[in-house]
Amino acid sequence: MLLICFMVIILVPLWNVIISSLSSGRALAEGGFIFWSKEFSLENYRAVFNDSTIGQSFVVSVAKTFLGVITHVFFCAMIGYGLSKRYIRGRKLYVAMGVITMFFSGGMIPTYLLIKSLGLLNSFWVYIIPALFSYYDVVILMNFFRNVPDSLEESAKIDGAGDWHIFLKIFIPLSMPAMATIALFNGVGQWNDFMTTKLYITDQALYPLQMKLYEIIVQSQTQSMQNIGGSVVIETTTKGVQLATIVITTLPIVAMYPILQRYFISGMMLGAVKE
């Protein structure tokens, strides 16, 4: 019973967002509906998709999310694997340095200067390279790798496997739940991120979906400010466009969730069992 109540609390607003995004501007302005709109309309979506460059932004978004996630997970796994070995020289220093980055960051302007001197301004790689490393994720992977019995590694070594072989063929397949978790974290982050674009990108061709939609929303807000002396009945309202945007940007990432979900469940089980 409690669960059903809880579900209703979550689902009703969600449904309301979807249905509101499918309403005409007039119905939305009048308001007063929860489950079914008074006037069905696709205008809000038309307003969003009207932008000719939105397809390109979608490609940028998908590319940066896909490439970003793969490189990030692989890179963090490599470092995490290395740091999980107690015999690595200077390990404590590396860990300490990593921990410091968890507490302090350079701040916006020094980061901007760094990105600038690396020549990453207005480059697609600004989405990938600075996002490669996250010490937080490294810690999670490091701990996961430590749980893999040493004996496995030893036996592999006896069979003649090198470090790369052990890492790729034994540790990675065994750590899929952790990898999937980090992939999802990072994927959602990459998908939703628009600050990177806002700060470092001025070339419109490199705008991801989020930035494009941010622009559409801001412009729909100001459209009414600039007094175009027309008597046109505008079919969309700022709120409608915002809602349509929410639906469009959330849908792909929500669709990804069921695919990755099975890893989570096994991940939780795995963490729960003690030898």
Binding site: R26, L28, A29, E30, N50, K92, L93, V95, A96, M97, V99, I100, F103, M108, I109, P110, Y112, L113, K116, K198, L199, T202, Q204, Y214, E215, V218, Q219, Q221, T222, Q223, S224, M225, Q226, N227, I228, G229, G230, S231, V232, V233, I234, T237, T238, K239
Partner: protein, 546 residues
């Protein structure tokens, strides 16, 4: 730190700290950009300066000049050269502009990174960026002298004077800067009005709203007769006071300064407080909705669009023009109209405000500008009669025609597009939108410049405008203790205002007001008044007011 030492152990901490120190030193040593020396361009083979001809007509530079122009507004349309207006600019000046947009965050990174654009437009003339313009921008007077003396013919001397920094030079030029002459000409329309829906007004037999008693009575009648409507609305409060602060004070003509020319706290004016008490009574009668205090700009606009308010104190009628027009078109005969609203209880006349001499956006040519000669030509071009008409009405013969009396009129097919296909109109023509140097006096040239819905309101406001120049840019400088006090006081006043209107009885109203007065004393108010009075004095000197 103690905790961290425990976690990491002193052994690891030492090298880490050393490393951090080294990084800091390295970062400190690297050059910070900025303060670059301005580019000198040679005018040989291009043109000889002539004070009687705009330089853009003389310039023979054959290759197209590429310029980047940063606009500190996310919503700015970055297209260039595709629509009628910018295409003409592109052709006439032989330039290609790449617009970059952003917000304050991006502006800061630009300044920090040192890679400034060629031209820069910002909005806040009180910001430190403007105060320090001498370090990053080129002085317009010198540029004009060197490359384009015609600039001085098209720029308003008062405006240049107003923006002069302490070194005697002017670096930025704003749009919508209205001088005393503009006010005197009568070409500036009012932007504040007390409006009421025509059907409501007629149904109630044209009631009076002038005195506090009449106002309260009329609002109660609206509530009784039109229970679906919110009797009284006002601009969204948000971070400011909506239209219940300065706008209401101007409406009832609260004085701008004390009799001896010092700063006057208009918020505590007795006349104004009488009206706030009235609003409190109206609220207690249930004629002001609680939603009005929580609505943001969008929420307010949507209520305007659907005609939810019976009456409104509206500030910024042109900004609401589109919304009012939508309601007007959908509900003929019910449109909002301006009537004489609240009036002073002590006999003051309204002193409505309009954009002052500070204007809105301010444009700069930075020291990094690749071709300052071309940049000042753009300023001259856009400020000239020709450029102004282009921005507002497009190209003569193609989009508008001139009438013998000096007014202009959009051609029928363009007008039709404006009315029926706003998106296409915006995309293909972009008239009235490229307003870096836009100006009210050119808007007054045509009937087509404002939507039908607000014309009656502008008509109503004639003769009620009074410049507020002396009160412009008088806030304490950012970073000073007074500025911090000021910010705290503003926030406190906003909540006080809302609490007073929503007070459950008169005693609660009075105690909230008393709290605010105590807050003023605690936050250095007398010092702030001193700073402001000083700045008002400086303003008067600049404007030549005694």
């Amino acid at each position: 730190m103690i905790k961290m030492t425990k976690v990491l152990g002193t052994k690891t901490l030492k090298p880490a700290l050393l490393l951090m120190a080294a990084m800091l030193v390295a970062a400190g040593c690297s050059s910070g950009g900025g303060n670059t020396k301005a580019v000198e361009v040679s005018l040989d083979n291009r043109y000889t300066v002539d004070p009687e001809t705009p330089a853009w007509q003389l310039d023979k530079k054959s290759e197209t000049t590429d310029l980047t122009w940063y606009v500190n507004a996310d919503w700015w349309n970055t297209d260039f050269g595709k629509d009628v207006v910018t295409k003409k600019i592109k052709e006439d000046l032989n330039i290609n502009i790449k617009f970059i947009t952003g917000d304050d965050t991006k502006l800061n990174t630009f300044f920090a990174g040192g890679d400034m654009p060629d031209l820069l437009t910002i909005f806040d003339s009180n910001s430190p960026v403007v105060q320090k313009a001498a370090t990053w921008a080129l002085p317009l007077n010198e540029l004009a002298e060197k490359y384009d003396p015609y600039f001085n013919k098209v720029a308003a001397a008062d405006t240049l004077n107003w923006f002069q920094l302490k070194d005697g030079k002017t670096y930025g030029y704003p749009n919508y800067s209205n001088t005393q002459a503009d006010y005197d000409s009568g070409n500036i329309p009012a932007k504040t009005a007390f409006v009421i829906r025509k059907d409501v007004y007629e149904a109630l037999g044209s009631p009076d709203f002038g005195t506090p008693e009449a106002f309260r009575k009329s609002m109660s009648e609206i509530k009784a007769k039109f229970p679906d409507m919110i009797p009284f609305g006002f601009n969204a409060i948000g971070e400011g006071t909506g239209s219940l602060g300065d706008a209401l004070q101007d409406f009832i003509g609260v004085p701008l300064e004390t009799e001896d020319g010092k700063f006057y706290n208009r918020n505590l004016d007795e006349d104004y407080l009488t009206w706030l008490r009235t609003l409190n009574a109206v609220y207690r009668d249930g004629a002001i909705s609680d939603d009005s205090f929580a609505d943001d700009g969008t929420g307010f606009e949507e209520k305007v669009k659907s005609g939810k308010y019976a009456a409104m104190l509206l500030d910024g009628t042109p900004q609401q023009g589109g919304n009012l027009q939508i309601f007007m078109s959908a509900n003929p005969g019910k449109e909002y109209m301006a009537v004489d609203g609240p009036q002073s209880t002590v006999g003051h006349q309204p002193t409505l405000n309009q954009s002052g001499i500070t204007g809105w956006m301010i444009n700069y040519i930075t020291k990094n500008c690749k071709d300052p000669a071309k940049a000042i030509q753009i300023f001259t071009y856009l400020l000239s009669e020709e450029g102004q008409k282009l921005m507002n009405y497009g190209v003569e013969g193609l989009t508008y025609k001139s009438n013998p009396d000096g007014t202009v009129e959009l051609l029928p097919e363009v007008k039709d597009l404006q009315l029926n296909n706003a998106d296409k109109f915006k995309k293909d023509y972009r008239m009235g939108e490229f307003m870096f140097f836009g100006h009210d006096r050119h808007k007054a040239l045509s009937k087509d410049a404002f939507p039908e819905s607000i014309k009656q309101m502008q008509e109503w406001g004639k003769g009620k405008l009074k410049p507020h120049f002396i009160l412009e840019n008088i806030n304490p400088d950012q970073g000073t203790p007074e500025a911090r006090g000021q910010t705290a006081i503003n926030t406190n006043w906003n909540t006080t205002l809302v609490s007073m209107i929503r007070a459950k009885d008169e005693a609660a109203f009075d105690s909230t007001l008393a709290d605010h007065k105590a807050f003023l004393d605690k936050n250095n108010w007398s010092k702030i008044v001193e700073v402001r009075s000083e700045k008002m004095k400086a303003n008067k000197e600049k404007l030549g007011i005694k």
